[in-house]
Symmetry: D2
Subunit: 292 residues, 4 copies
């Protein structure tokens, strides 16, 4: 795409402030904000618009909030208390081939975007975005580990479950702080990579043989892997941080029963580093606008 690109950002959270700032630096973007009326801060060259006044048919790019659109068409507007509903009718007005960005998609969003031939780009499903976001996620986990233990990460034994996009970052950064990191995973190749990285590693079937010795357990696997059996071996003063999306991978009830602190820590990038999280979105959106 070249020449002037018309863009609307409709709703969004703290991360969107940096996103708006970064996008507003591009000379060939004409940006309108919807759902940011309670914002004190202004952005040079950016216009606040009412949802109803948006000239939908002219938009090249639409940026929706991270959670997309719910089943009734509503979206999250952290910086406004006006409700915004995006109807099927609204979608019908869209220019063919316009780009719609969101974090994740929902059935409502996917089906409507498809019907009108808009190109939907759920950013959080992309590998690169997931890896960039794994950085603030890891720092969030580090902060929690320091806050919720009375010992140092250095020299403590940290079990990291999963060596995917988040697990790889968590494992390497805890090791960088001097922890004795042990990775639990289901694939032979992940065992090999963990060992190459200087870590210990085991197959998830053997989990119960490893929980007994650990001081901190960090789960990144989106499946119920930290079961009653695994918890029974743990020291009661160990800390569990579950990073996997809801419902998470830990039997929280059983952990509580055993007196083990188990934190379900979601949405860390937006919490610990909204500016960085916004930059990640801006970088990716800019790049996708160029290459699409």
């Amino acid at each position: 795409m070249d020449s002037m690109i018309r863009m609307a950002i409709i709703g969004g959270d703290a991360r969107y402030l940096e996103l708006i700032k970064k996008l507003s630096e591009k000379e060939n973007y004409y940006m309108e904000l919807v759902g940011f009326d309670q914002l004190d801060q202004g952005f040079t060259g950016v216009k606040q618009t009412n949802f109803d006044e948006l000239e939908v048919e002219d938009l090249d790019v639409i940026i929706l909030p991270i959670p997309g659109i719910d089943e009734d068409g509503y979206i999250e507007t952290v910086f406004s208390n006006k409700k915004i509903q995006i109807t099927k009718n609204w979608f019908n007005k869209l220019k063919k081939g316009c780009l719609i960005f969101s974090g994740i998609t929902t059935p409502y969003l996917s089906s409507n975007a498809e019907k009108v031939n808009a190109r939907l780009l759920p950013l959080m499903q992309r590998d690169d975005v997931a890896i960039y976001n794994s950085i603030p996620t890891t720092e969030g986990a580090i902060m929690l580990a320091i806050q919720h233990t009375n010992f140092t990460i250095h020299s403590s034994r940290v079990l990291v479950l999963g060596l995917g996009r988040v697990g790889h970052s968590v494992a390497s950064k805890f090791a960088g702080l001097g922890a004795d990191v042990v990775v639990g995973t289901k694939k032979d190749k992940d065992i090999a990579r963990a060992i190459e990285m200087g870590l210990e590693a085991f197959h998830m079937e053997e989990l119960t043989a490893y929980t007994g010795q650990c001081d901190i357990l960090i789960n990144t696997i989106p499946a119920k892997v930290v079961t009653e059996g695994a918890l029974n071996q743990m020291k009661s003063n160990a800390l569990i941080i579950d990073l996997a999306s809801k419902p998470g991978g830990v039997d929280f009830n059983h952990a509580k029963q055993r007196g083990i602190t188990a934190l379900q820590a979601l949405g860390l990038p937006g919490m610990v580093a909204p500016k960085t999280a916004g930059e990640i979105l801006a970088k990716t959106i800019n790049q996708l606008i160029i290459t699409q």
Copy 2:
């Protein structure tokens, strides 16, 4: 020293719980606790004693609180609300050559110990203890950096002032998290070491040329080095963490005036990792008892 060693721990804070626990594992120590009467927790084989009932003349080892004794003879007793005063007279009763441990010493403590030929061992003045403590100190600084910024440590530019015992650990661990670390120091050899460690480095005289670009400044130099001039160059959303002991190394007034968040962060080991801090004390005390 061999055979049975008689020991009294008189006052102390949260770190002393782990210290007591670790020392109580030694079979040849006979331990009495003074100033821990509000403690719920018991320790096997350890006796709680009133200050007055202590048989001072039999003691081989006395462990005082980290801050030592104040000028009036009083000591810190976090786990008791009885005031304890250690008088000159009390010192006179001590066995010649008995060991007295504290964190730091005070004129009152030093002069009295010397008079009665006790061997005073202020642990925090030791290089090894300072290096071990630099680990929880660094983790405290990491926690603060994550909490008080809206960006990640990763990819941010971090100025570390001083490459002493604390600075070395801070610099290497922030680099381990992916920060772009720049060390300011006054010695050529520290510049060389920083470069060997893969960091950037500069002489402290050039400080003002470096503050303008940094996102986080961490000071470990116990001297007023972060002056008005250095602060004037800084971005207003940069974060300053001053780790140096009181009065610290930062012109806090001027930082405030410029709207820069500047945290004076003292006593981090006891705050973020009292258990580890207690283990460090126990390890060192045990070793010194053997070698003295």
Copy 3:
């Protein structure tokens, strides 16, 4: 598999000495060696056998040399000067379901194994083996970089092309030595991972913009990526190490013309660490025997 496992190792190179040693430690393996008659060294409990005397129909496991079998049925026998030919007829005698290990496969080997329902396991094609082997490969590249330059790896700018199994290890270890590593890759997710690892990264299309500044270029991409154009920008005292399998990824003629040293460095694991390479094979074979 349990009870006694009958196994023949037919041919092989220096790596196979450690492989034999490690496998011979297993109590339930009955091992015979073919093609090792010039070996001085003996292995407890291992029998040297002539190819003709092998009771083929009883074998549960056959281990062939890394390069498999050539199109005429011949195999590599570094420790023998007898030629060994493995005929179709020989395959016909095999027990159904027996395991055949090799490094890579060849059309001759694959088709014959399939015909007789043997389970062929070409070890080098496995991700885990490739990752384990990336470790000695990386150390080989480090050795060459030290030998063939008059500057240190530390502080030099190292371009690593590809962030696959070998590239990931090469990039992280050169960075660990203090090099300024820049990764060239074609996938957005690999750019993201490189940045998470604290490295610089670029898309391969931009290669020519990066070659001019580098001191060492290490290629892991098995495609002609280091073209005339890329070479024209390079300093003449830069070093190129091409790790990609034949024909490699570098225009060697043009490099020579420009006076740039370009090394085609193949088979590094067997060269720099045959013992480790043998252990990797043994570990994987043992594990596959258990799980098949």
Copy 4:
């Protein structure tokens, strides 16, 4: 010093080529080379002079070879076959306060420099130069470890003796390659630093308890520490690299008797990275000229 600085480089080895190149880039230096007559290469703005024709009384800076001057006044001239003798008489002609650089000093050099009030600066005795040189020294040790073993540095157990300027670099870089590094040292503070760095550590008195398990032993202590007793525990296929200056710290005879490969590896910076070693000298000389 400002304005034009008259400088003579009298003798030197491969490192001096880069030194000359770097110094010749300074506009305010007038440089003459003595003892480089066999050099093909020319340097812009640098003059080759015969020793006898040098106008000694005008020189502000004299750069001698790394080993200084021997007891008869002779110096090392790698790029000339003319013998150069620097007599007492020659010293007498020197300008008061002129700077004399060398690597190390000798009694002859020190006493003569002192007599004529020249400021002698033996570069290798400086902490910063020793630390910078520890980088190529470490890379030399890495190269040797890869060449002289049949296993990888990764996962091998490496004993590093001494945590001084060289030991610190060796330990951290071998750890960066994935070795399991254990540091032997005599000071408590070095034990603490090694542990902070994520390494294991022990007191040198316990050396014999550690040699039995190691795969590679690297000595940096300039004292006979690797004695018969320490060697008796070692595996015969372990590798010893002695970096300490002559006579080194290893009982080489006993190592030989036990069949252990023990390399006395001296002068590594000049061997593996003469360009970097020359740059280190140039950087330091430039800085000292400015600050003296």
